[in-house]
Amino acid sequence: MLRLLSLAVSFWLFLCTALQAQSLQDILQTHADEVQKPSRNSVGVVLDDLVASGLPQVVPFLEGWRDREIVQRSPDGQFFRLIEEGDVARLEDLDSGEMIEADAGAFKDLRPNGGVRRAIGNALVQFQLSDPDIAKRRAAVDAIARSMDVSQLGPLQASVEGETDAELLKKKQRLAGMLVATFGETPEARIEAIDALSGDLSVDVRAVLNTVLATTTKVGVAIPEGVNLAETLEVGADLSADEAYARLVEAELAPAPVTPAQIRAALVANIEGDTVGGVAVSALGSDVARAQAYDRLAATGSVAARVPDANKAEAVADHVFYLEYAEPDPAITDAAREALNDIESRVALSQTVDLGLDALSLASIYFLAAIGLAITFGVMGVINMAHGEFIMMGAYTGFVVQQFVPDYTLSIIIALPLAFAVTFGAGVAMERLVIRHLYHRPLETLLATFGISIALQQLAKNIFGTQARPLTSPEWLDGALVFNDVIAISYIRIAIFVLAVLFLILILFVLKRTRLGLEVRAVTQNPGMAASMGINPDRINMLTFGLGSGIAGIAGVAIGLYAKVTSEMGADYIVQSFMTVVVGGVGNVWGTLAGASLIGFLQKGIEWLNPSNTLAAQTYMILFIILFIQFRPKGIVALKGRAAAD
C-alpha cells in the first residue's frame, strides 16, 4: 500500500517536473494545428493546457494571440510574437524574449476569429481581474459580461475587495450580483441578488432574469405534482389546434396525421392496373377521390388509416399543455418574475420615449431638408425641383472640404458656411437665369427646375462617381447620449435637432424682425404695391431664393454627416420635402414645422406597428398624406384672408 502510494507520489512529482520543464513553445507545438487554425469549440484544450502550465509567459502570449500579434515561422512552424517598428519586422521568442530579424514572407499571421478571441479573453479573466493595469481589468470584466460562467464567480468576488477604481468596482459588484442570481449556492442568496437587480433596465440584467425564467413546453394528461409551473396553455388562444396536435404527435401521445403528400405517395405505390383501391386512376384528380381511394387502401390494412378530425380534437381536448420552468424552486422563479415584470413595464415606457426621440430626430431631419423649400416654395411660391440637388451640393461641398482639411471639427466649421455660400450662389444664379422668367408660369418652373435637377445629378455623377462618398463627423459627435439602458440618441442626431431649431429661430427672425423679412413679405403678398413703395422686387426675390437654397446646402452637410453623400441623396428627400411643406401649410414656417413633426411621428408610429417592413411604413405614410391633403387642402396651418389666395 505504502509502496503504491509512494509510487503515485513520485509519479506525480515526475509529472510536475516534466510540466515545469516544458517551455511555452513546447506546449504550443503539441497543439500546433489547433493554434494555427483554432475553433471556438476546440480551443479549450489548448487554453486549459496553457493555463495549467502556470508559466509566467502564458498571459502575455494569450494577450498577444488575442490581439493578433503572434506569427508562425514558415520553415519550422515555431511561434513568435511579431514586433513591427516602422518598416522593420522582428520576431520575439515567446520564452526567452530574444529578438530575431525576420524576412517578410518568412512567417504567417495567426488570425484567431471572434469566437476564439472571446474564449482567450475568458481564459485571461482570472489573471487580469486584479491586474494593476486598469485597461486589463476592464477587459476582464467585459469578457465576463459577454459570457457568464459559474467558474468566474469566485475570482470575481475575490477581486472586488482590492478594486480601487470606483466605476470598475460598481461594475464588478453588479456583475457579481448577476452571477449570484444565476449560479448562487443558496436560494436565499439568489433571491436577494434577484431583488437587487430589479430596477436595472439593461439588456444583460434582463438576460439574466430571462435565463432564470427559462421554460420548456410540456404536454400530459394532467399536470404532475411538484412541477414548477410557469403557465398553462389554452388551445385556441396560446396555440392553435394544429400546433397542439403536432405537439401530441411529437410527444408520441397521438398517431401522426397522414399528409396529402403521403396519401399521394401511397396511392402511386398501390396502383393496380387502372385502379387504386377500386377507384379509377383517371378519377384521382381531386382530394375527395384521393381520400376515398386511400381509405379503401387503409381498410385493407396496406396503409395507415387517416386520423379523423374528430379524433384529433378529442386527443387535444384530453391533454393539458403547459410551460414548466427549468428552475425547480418556485420562490426563485417568483422573485425573478416579479423583478422582470417590474423591469419590463419600465422598459416599455422607456421604449416609448425612445421611439418618440427617434421620431423627433426624423422630424428634425425632414424639417431641415424642407425648410429651405418652405422659403422658396412656401413663401415665394416657386416650385424648385432642384432643391434636393442643392442639398446634395451642400453635402459634396462638405466632402470636398474634408479632402483638403483633415481635421474633422475644423472641416465642418469651414464646410457649413462654405456650403451655404456655394448653394446661395447656385440659387441666385438659377433665379436670375431661369426662374425670373417663369414667375407667372408655375408648372413650367417645375419642368425647368426638374431639368436642372437631372443635369446637376448627372454632373455630380460625372465628377464624383456614383459611389457613396464619406462625410465623417468629428469625434465629439460620435457615440450617443445615453439616458438609461433603453433610451439613447446619437449625438449626431442631437446636433441635427439643434441645427433645425437654430434655423427655425433664424428664419423666423429674418422674416419677422428684419428689413429684408418685411420686404420679402411685402413682395410675396403684393409685388406691384411693394415695388411702388420703393422695394426692388427683383432683388428681394433673388435674395430670398438664395437664402432658401443656401439653407438647403447646410442641410446637405448635416444629412451627409448622419447618412451618406451620393448623387441621388437629393432625390430621396425631394418628394418628402414637398409633402412636408404642403401638409404643413404653404406660406408659413410654423406649418413646415408642423408638417415635419406629423410626418416624422407618423412614420415612426407606422414602423412601430409593423417593424419588419420599413417600406410599408413609407407607403402608408404617403397614402395618409394624400388623403390628408384631400380633406385639408390648405395644410395644417392654413393662411387666412388675402395671403391665402392662390
Partner: protein, 388 residues
Amino acid sequence: MRNSFLAQNPSMLWFIALLAVFTIAVTLLSEVTGVGLISTSFVKTLGKTLCLCLVAIAMDVVWGYCGILSLGHFAFFGIGGYAIGMWLMYARTEGIVLDSLAGQPIPPTPAEISDAIGNQIFGVVGSSEFPMIWAFADNLFVQLVMVVLVPGLLALVFGWLAFRSRVTGVYLSILTQAMTLALALYLFQNDSGLRGNNGLSGLQNIPGFEETSQATISILFFLASAVALAAGYVFFAWIVSGKMGSVVKGIRDNEARVRFLGYHVESYKLFIFTTTAVVAGIAGALYYPQAGIINPGEIAPIASIYLAVWVAIGGRGRLYGAVIGATFVSLLSSWFTGGGAPDINLGFYTVQWTDWWLVLLGLSFVVVTLFFPKGIGGAFDYLVRKPS
C-alpha cells in the same frame, strides 16, 4: 358635324397617312418578309415608341388641353402593363406546369396545379401562395378588362377626391407624384404579391404562340401599337374639338371663369383625367409584352416627369406635338445611351455621351421652357402655317 371635325383637324389626316406609310414600310423591311433591313430588336424599339406616343398624347390632353399637370400618368401606364403581365405569366406558367404534370402516374388535383404554378411564379420571391390580386389571372378577358378598369377606377377615385377639394395647380402635381411614389413603393415590397422588385418577366413569350418566332410576334405587336395610336389620336382629336374641347381649354385658361359660366368644371376634369388614364393603361398593356419585363422601377416618379418633358419638348396643346416629343426624345435617348453617338475628344477631356447625355437633356428642358414654350411642334406650326 363629321365635316367640321375633319375641317378642324387637317393635321389628323396627315398624321394617319404618315403613320400608315411608316407602319407598312417597317413591316416590309422587317425580318418577317425576309428583307431583314430592320432587325427584330429595332422593330420592338419602334413598337414600344408607338406606345409611348400614345401615352404622350393622353398626357398632352390632360396637361396641354385641360391644364392638369399630372405627374402620375405613367403609373396608369404601368398598371396596364401589370394587368396584362399577370395573365401572360400565369398562362405561360400554367402551360408549362400542365405539361410537366401530365406525365404523372395519377392526375393532379386543382390544388396541386395551383401550388405548382404558384411555386413557379413566386418561387423567386420565396413564396408559393397565390395572392388575392391574382384571382382572375387565368382569365385573359378579365385581365383585359382590368387593363381598362383598374387605371380608370384609380383615376376616378383619386380625381374625384382631388377635384372635389379643389386641389389645383402645383399642389395637384405634387399629389399625383405622391400617388405614383406610393404605388411604386408598394409594388417594390415583396408582400405586394406582384413579385416585388423582380416584377413580371418573360412577357415577350405569348402563351399559345410558343411556335411563332419573335420576329413575327414583334411585328404583330408593332402593328397593334400603330392601330392603337391611330385610334387614340382620332379619339382625342374628336374630344378636344367641338364644344367639349372648348370647355376643357377654357378650364385650362381660366378655371374660375368657366365655373361662373355654369359649367361643372370638376366633371369635365374628372372625365379627361379618367379617360386619359384608361388610354395610358391600354398603351402600357401593349408596351410591356414588347419590353418583356415590367417592374416597379418603371413607374417611379421620374418616369411620369419624363412623360411631361416629352410633351413639353414636343409642344403642348397639339396632339402631334406629343408624338414628336415622345419619338424624338426616347429615340435620341436610346441612341445616346446606347453608345451610338461618337465620343467627343476635347484633348484634355473626352466627352462620353453615356455620361453627358442626361446633362444635355436636362439643360434642354430649361432651354425649351424658357425660349420655346410651344416646343418642337410650335416651331413646326411656324414653318407650315406661316404666321398670319
